[in-house]
Amino acid sequence: MGLRVGLPDHRTRSRADGGWSPGAAARAAGAEAGERAPDQAILAAAVAFARALRELGLAVSVDSELVFFSALAELDVRKQADVYWAAHAAFVHTPDERAVFDTVFERFWAGQPMTLPQRGAEHGESDARMGGAQHGGEALPQFQHEGKAASAVDGDKQRATRDIPSAEGEQGASNQQRGVLAAWSARETVSDRQRLEYNHDELAALRKLAEDIKRAAPVRRSRRCRPARGGHRLDVRRTLRDSMTTDGEAFRLSYTAQAPRPRRLLFLCDVSGSMERYSRVLLASLKAAVGAARRAEAFVFATRLTRVTRSLDGHDLERALEQARATVPDWSGGTRIGGALADFNRTYGRRGFARGAIVLVVSDGWDRGDPELLAGEVRRLQLQARRLVWLNPRPMGLDQQPLAIGMRAAMPFVDDFVPGHDPRAVAGLAQLIGDLGGQRPQRRPVRA
C-alpha cells in the first residue's frame, strides 16, 4: 500500500513562482526518486494542482487527493504519461471534465503557475460541443470568453465570477434580419443581460408550484418490490421466513407489489428571442420542477442545447436561477429547434434520458431551421418518450401562421398539443402535469 499522508503544508513552498516542475525536480532527485515516496516538493505541487482543478469546478475531494498521492508512490514520477494517467484516474469523474483537466495538467507538468485557462468546455452541462467530431455536424458557434485569467492557485473565491461566453454570430450566417424575422432568426443575438429579478409573490408561487408538482407528478411501477398487503405477487422468501416461527407451517402468506416511482419529467424549453417574455418565468418553473421531482431534467435551447438541471439544483432559488441563466450562452437568441433536439437526441437521448419520460417541450414552434430535420428529431424523441407534450404559449390557430413552420412539422409526432399555455400562469403547470398522467398515449405506427 502506498504512503498514507496527511495533507502536507504547501505553504512552505513559495507559490509565487507557481512552484515546482515535476520534471525538473525528478531529474534533480536522481534515479532513486521513483522508488521512494514522493517528497514534500512533489506533494506540494500535487496539492496546488488539485486546488487549481477545484477552483475550476471539478469535484476534487480530499479522497481524490490521497488517491493521487498514493498513486504517485507507485509510479515513476519522472514519466509524464504515468503521472498524467494517475491524476486523470483520481481527479476526473466525467468525460466532460477532461478538457479542463488537460489544460491544468499541462501547466502543472511544465511548472507554470496554474492560472485559470479559458473556460467554456468544462460546464459539462452543455456538452453538445464536447466529444469532438461525434457532434460536430453543423457549424458550431464560436466561443468568446470575457473571462479574465485569474490565478486559481491563490485560492480566491474565483468560482463566483462565472464568465459567460458571449454569443457571437455564427459563421456564414448571412441572414438578412428584417422586421419580425429578427426575433426568430437562426443567428444568435446578444441580448442585454439584465439580472433576472423575482419578487416575493413570484418566489412564493414557485415554492407552491414545486409542492404541487411533487403531488401531481405521474408515477410508474418500478421493478423494485415492496411488501404490500394487497399485492398480487407471493413473497416466497418472506412467507417461508415467517413460517420458521411456526414450525415450518405457512399460516400467513406475504405478498409484494411493485413500488411506485416518480416518472421522469423532461423539460425542453425554448428561450429564444420569440419566447423572450416567457423565458424568465419558464426558467423559474423549471427550477421548481427540478426541485420537486427527484428525477426531473431540464434543458433549454435557442440555437443550441444547454442542460440546466445541475445549475438549477440548489436551495437558494434566486442564485440557482441566475447561475442557470449564466450557463446558457444563447439566451434570447435565434431559434433552431430541430438542431437543438438533434443535439439532445444524440447526446442525452442515446444515454436514455428520454426513455419512459414525460417529455414537455415548451416552444412557440417558430423555427428557422429545416422543417424536415425538426420533424425527424421530434419523431425520434417521441419514440423514446412515454408521452410527448408540446406546450405552445401562442393561442390556438396561430400555429397555422406561416411563421410557425416548425410547429406544423412537429405536430404529427406530438402526443398532446397544448396551445395557449401561458408559462406566466405558473400554477397551471402542476395542474397540467397532473392532468396528463402517466398513461401511454394511443399512437398509430408512423410510416416514414
Binding site: S61, D63, A86, A89, Q134, R224, L240, R241, S243, M244
Partner: protein
C-alpha cells in the same frame, strides 16, 4: 491474484489475452490493482468495458465474478440469501443444525467475491441499478466487508479487484465515484483497431482488417446516431471473411451494412452518401498504413 510489477508487464499480460490497451488504460488498471481501488470505466457502447474485466481475470488467472445490474436489484440478488426450502426441510426433519448459519447461506456475487481470495468482480452497467442499490454498494466498496445480521461481519482475506462499468444512462453518485479510479475508454485509433481485429480474428487477411477499420474510423467522424463500436467492427470483418472476401467492395458492404449500423436513419444516410466513395477512401487510408499490422499503436 498474482500482481503485476510494472505497467509494461501488465500490458503484455493483457496482450497475451488478446486485449490491446493503450497507455492510459494500462496505467489506471495497474494503479487500481496497486492501490486496491475499484475501477470505474465508462465509454461508448462497444469499446470493451466488460471485456476489460474478463481480460483482467484471464491475465491474472483469477476467477471472474459478474454482477449484472438492473432496476430493482437488491441485497438478495447481489449479496446473499437464505436457502429457505432447505431450511424448511431441516425444520420439518427436526434437525438440530442452526437455521441461520453458513450452511444455509446462498452466496450471491458480492459475497462470492469476498469469499474467493483474489477474484475479479465485475459490476456491470451499474447505471441500470437504482440509487438505493448504489448507496448499498458504497459500504461494500470502501471496506470490502459486509454485515449479515444472523452471521456477523464477513470480510475478505484479500479484497477482489473490482471493475465497475457504466453507460451513463444516469449520473452515478459523486460518493461512489470518489471511491473509484475513473477511466473513460475511447474508441481505439486506426492502428490499434487493426491490431485488435488481427488479434481477435487471426484467420482474416490483413488487408481486409485494415480496410474495414479505416472505413469504420471514417464513420465515427460522421455525425451518426449510433457510432459503431469495436465489437461491430469485428462483426463486420467477420461478415466479409465469411462471405469469402479478402478486401472490401461496395456491393458486399451494402449487403452487410446492417452488421455495422443498427439505426435505420444511419443506414440510409451512409447509403445515400455513396458507399463506393467511402469504400474507396477506406482503401486509400488502409494503403497508407505501414505494412506492420501487428504493432499496437499507442494513443
Amino acid at each position: 491474484m498474482p500482481g503485476f510489477d510494472s505497467i509494461e508487464q501488465l500490458r503484455d499480460a493483457f496482450t497475451a489475452q488478446r486485449y490491446l490497451m493503450d497507455e492510459g488504460l494500462a496505467t489506471v488498471v495497474f494503479l487500481a490493482q496497486r492501490l486496491r481501488k475499484p475501477l470505474l470505466v465508462e465509454g461508448e457502447p462497444g469499446v470493451g468495458k466488460t471485456e476489460l474485466a474478463k481480460a483482467l481475470a484471464a491475465a491474472s488467472g483469477a476467477p471472474l465474478i459478474r454482477l449484472q445490474c438492473y432496476e430493482g436489484i437488491d441485497v438478495h440478488h447481489a449479496l446473499y440469501d437464505w436457502d429457505y426450502p432447505r431450511q424448511l426441510l431441516q425444520l420439518r426433519a427436526g434437525g438440530s443444525a442452526p437455521l441461520y448459519s453458513e450452511e444455509f447461506l446462498v452466496r450471491r456475487p458480492l459475497l462470492e467475491a469476498l469469499a474467493q481470495p483474489g477474484s475479479v468482480l465485475l459490476i456491470d452497467e451499474l447505471d441500470r441499478a437504482d440509487d438505493e442499490f448504489e448507496a448499498f454498494l458504497l459500504e461494500f466498496l470502501s471496506d470490502f466487508q459486509v454485515t449479515i445480521p444472523e452471521v456477523g461481519v464477513i470480510c475478505a482475506e484479500e479484497p477482489p479487484a473490482v471493475v465497475i462499468t457504466s453507460n451513463r444512462t444516469r449520473d452515478l453518485h459523486e460518493a461512489l465515484k470518489r471511491r473509484c479510479l475513473y477511466h473513460w475508454i475511447d474508441h481505439p485509433d486506426l492502428r490499434r483497431e487493426v491490431a485488435i481485429a488481427r488479434a481477435r480474428l487471426p484467420g482474416v487477411s490483413e488487408r481486409l482488417a485494415e480496410q474495414v477499420c479505416a472505413f469504420v474510423q471514417d464513420l465515427r467522424w460522421l455525425d451518426l446516431y449510433r457510432s459503431p463500436g469495436v465489437g461491430e467492427t469485428l462483426d463486420w470483418v467477420e461478415a466479409f471473411h465469411t462471405l469469402g472476401r479478402d478486401e472490401i467492395d461496395a456491393a458486399t458492404a451494402d449487403r452487410t451494412l446492417g452488421t455495422l449500423l443498427k439505426e435505420r436513419d444511419d443506414l440510409e444516410r451512409i447509403r445515400g452518401k455513396g458507399l463506393e466513395a467511402l469504400v474507396e477512401r477506406a482503401e486509400e487510408r488502409a494503403a497508407e498504413l505501414p505494412q506492420d499490422g501487428a504493432s499496437s499503436g499507442a494513443a
